[in-house]
Amino acid sequence: MSTQLVALDKNIHKNIRIKTKNRYDHAKDQNLVSIQAHEFIASGTSYPIVFVKNNETAEFMPTAMLGLLPGENLFYTNSAWSEEYVPSTIRLHPFSAHKNSNNEIVVCIDANSEAITQDSGNLLFDDMGQQTAYLNQIVDKLSDHIAQSSTTKEFINYLVEKQLISPYSLTIQDKNVSQGSYSLKGIYIVDQKKLQALSDHEFLELRHKYYLPLIYAHLLSLNIIERMASQKLKNQVTQL
């Protein structure tokens, strides 16, 4: 079902609840999820972190790969998420935060989400129309998340300015596709050759800006792609 973003309103949404069971069902077919800079360390040991162009603006966005093909999430089976760290936007669904034209942060909810129920689950507003503890927690997490967006943007702008990003070409073997393999498209990574070619002064800048952990968390995470591909192959073999 498509997304329908609306601003959270204590009158319109007085009685809705957010279900507590199978909280990540909405992401079962999601193969890419945007992450912020402060999520790199937690995500990097579970998911490949790559850069993908935003379809509307062409800006690079740091992205955790949940699958190798569109519509595929290899980390959510039988309503259970297999990794310890769940990326922030998935955990916070159906909530998100956006800046309006006055630069104020508005909490939004996806009105079409299956996570919204009328019977059981967490309420958002109490009898007096005040935010519940549950919603307060969500709002705090959303504020953190949005505060990070400028840091993340600066990090991306720096990488682009220093021309450290290159397209990533990788072919994955897969018996289930027509040619026995396919290549990942639209994926970009930090180019290690260009990283090495930075002057001492520029490299020190990376340290001062706290970009080194982000870059290395990203580079190390790329190994996980192979792990995902061989896991898929193994699953295909056992299904024979």
């Binding site: 162009k53 935003n54 379809n55 509307e56 603006t57 062409a58 800006e59 690079f60 682009v160 021309q163 990003i165 290159s166 397209p167 639209g186 970009y188």
Partner: protein, 519 residues
């Protein structure tokens, strides 16, 4: 005594002047004070011609090589994407108000120099569709008002091959800014009063009304039809070719959109044939550029203007028209001693295939590649350059003449006279004679600097229903299975592309706020 070239003076600040300045300054590394310096002088009083708004796909490489950001260029010059040309009513005179068309696309899916689909199309293996529809999906893309790329495509790359439509005035200003700020070009305003030559006939300096005397060792004449250096100072004669190409005037009118945000932008140059010429229609982001190119031997100026205003439709009477006299032909030599002419000072044929700006780029490429550092070198490069560009202009005339010669329009003497063999270059007659029974091949295009390649000829040839008959030779085209496979693949791609590409207008609107990445 050293006659080492230390300074180049370019005369003229239109497209020719600034493109050449950019190319030279970049190649010669003029930012470095010890390198050859490039100075451009332009008149503060004489306006640029300001109507050349169509380019070729080569412009992408040209801009990229001089360090220009594609998105910035497009925003500054109200530029849009050009995916070839649509020729309306060239095949024959329209009857009962029904128009006829053919197209010259920029992208063919199969390179004819490796495996030519044309003979297989001619023998019927693609069904009854036109040649352009059989070998390219670009017609579908343009018809549906789609762009040749997405915002996520890297700059200068395309999902379909493309060139630009651009605002001529803004383009000159944009290039000027880039040349001065990033490439180390010196800019002067002034009018040249006279040219000083030495005993050997080489230009040593020019006198101006406001900048005194300017010395340089090499000169580039980009002064347009005035040809101040190559024509007036050095006396190189001009050879008219109006016996072959009859058009000699153009009337240009700029047309605003009703809705600048939402009106669709045409993704091809539309060229509509008329009784004694044709009308160009180019879509930019904020307006259209239209013009009626005609021959005053067959039509008077007032009627030509009326026809253009009629084409534009209601509201045309509010718009200003500009009339331009075109000198169709070229200098007998483009490079004379220490001066080379680039742009209209060198040659002009007519804008039917947007070749003028392309030939400016080509001249800049050869000049900067072969740039002579002293007089001995100049003498060697001069002949090479003249030979090469004479060939290019010759072939350009041939290609354009073909559009008129193969047309079957019968609504006036302009068209019937265009088919008289005395008005046709012999080389074209010979090629066409051969192609009656044998498809064009790469052996017909064996010059590295052929301006119009094999496939361009094929689009025009078969678009104009040229009667190539290969029946007697059918057995030698025995790879029909492979050809059919290509044809099917091309048709299959047409469906998918409709959902993959954004509309032209949508992408141009996005470009106002966002940019293509460089990768």
């Amino acid at each position: 005594m050293s006659d080492l070239v230390k300074k180049v003076l370019i005369v003229g600040g239109g497209t020719a002047g600034w493109l050449t300045a950019a190319k030279l300054a970049k190649e010669l590394n003029s930012k470095d004070p010890s390198a050859v310096q490039v100075t451009l002088i332009e008149s503060p009083d004489i306006p640029i011609i300001g109507v050349g708004e169509g380019t070729w796909p080569t412009m992408r490489t040209t801009l990229q090589k001089v360090g220009i950001d594609e998105s910035e260029f497009m925003r500054s010059c109200n530029a849009s994407f050009k995916q070839g040309s649509r020729f309306v009513n060239w095949r024959f005179t329209p009857k009962n108000g029904v128009d006829n068309y053919y197209h010259n696309h920029f992208t063919s899916l199969q390179n004819p120099e490796q495996f030519n689909l044309a003979p297989y199309w001619s023998l019927g293996y693609a069904g009854s569709i036109s040649y352009a529809e059989a070998v390219s999906i670009q017609g579908t893309v343009s018809e549906h008002g789609l762009a040749p790329k997405k915002i996520t495509t890297a700059q200068y790359e395309g999902i379909q091959n493309y060139a630009y439509h651009l605002d001529a005035g803004k383009f000159a200003d944009f290039l000027k800014k880039h040349c001065i700020e990033k490439l180390g070009v010196t800019h002067l305003f002034g009018n040249i009063t006279d040219v000083v030559k030495d005993d050997y006939g080489y230009i040593t300096s020019v006198n101006t009304d406001s900048q005194g005397n300017i010395e340089a060792e090499f000169y580039v004449d980009c002064s347009g039809f005035s040809a101040l250096l190559i024509g007036k100072a050095l006396g190189v004669p001009f050879k008219s070719i109006n016996d072959k190409l009859f058009v000699d005037h153009a009337i240009a009118i700029q047309v605003p959109y009703k809705d600048e945000e939402n009106d669709p932008v045409a993704s091809q140059t539309i060229s509509t044939a008329q009784r004694a010429g044709w009308i160009w229609d180019i879509g930019l982001t904020n307006r259209r550029g239209t013009g009626h190119v005609y021959s005053s031997r067959y039509m008077d100026h007032d009627e030509a203007e009326k026809i253009l205003r009629n084409y534009i439709g209601p509201g045309a009477d509010q718009l200003n028209a500009k009339r331009i006299k075109m000198n169709i032909g070229w200098r007998e030599r483009f490079w004379e001693k220490n001066c080379v002419a680039v742009g209209m000072s060198a040659a002009f044929i007519e804008p039917l295939e947007a070749s003028a700006i392309f030939l400016i780029e080509a001249a800049g490429n050869m000049l900067s590649d072969q740039f002579p550092r002293n007089r001995a070198a100049m003498q060697k490069v001069q002949d090479k350059f003249n030979r090469s560009f004479l060939y290019r202009w010759d072939k350009s005339v041939e290609f354009i003449k073909m559009h008129y010669f193969l047309s079957r329009r019968d609504d006036g003497e302009f068209w019937t006279d265009n088919r008289k063999v005395e008005s046709v270059p012999t080389a074209l007659l010979e090629r066409l004679e051969h192609w009656k029974m044998h498809p064009p091949s790469r052996y017909d295009f064996d010059n590295l600097f052929e301006p119009f390649p094999l496939e361009s000829y094929q689009f025009i040839l078969f678009g104009l229903d040229f009667p190539m008959n290969l029946e007697n030779n059918r057995t030698s085209f025995h790879m029909a299975d492979i050809a059919k496979m290509h044809f099917q693949k091309i048709q299959a791609l047409k469906e998918g592309i409709k959902t993959e590409l954004p509309t032209h207008r949508a992408l141009l609107n996005k470009l106002k706020n966002y940019s293509f990445q460089s990768i």
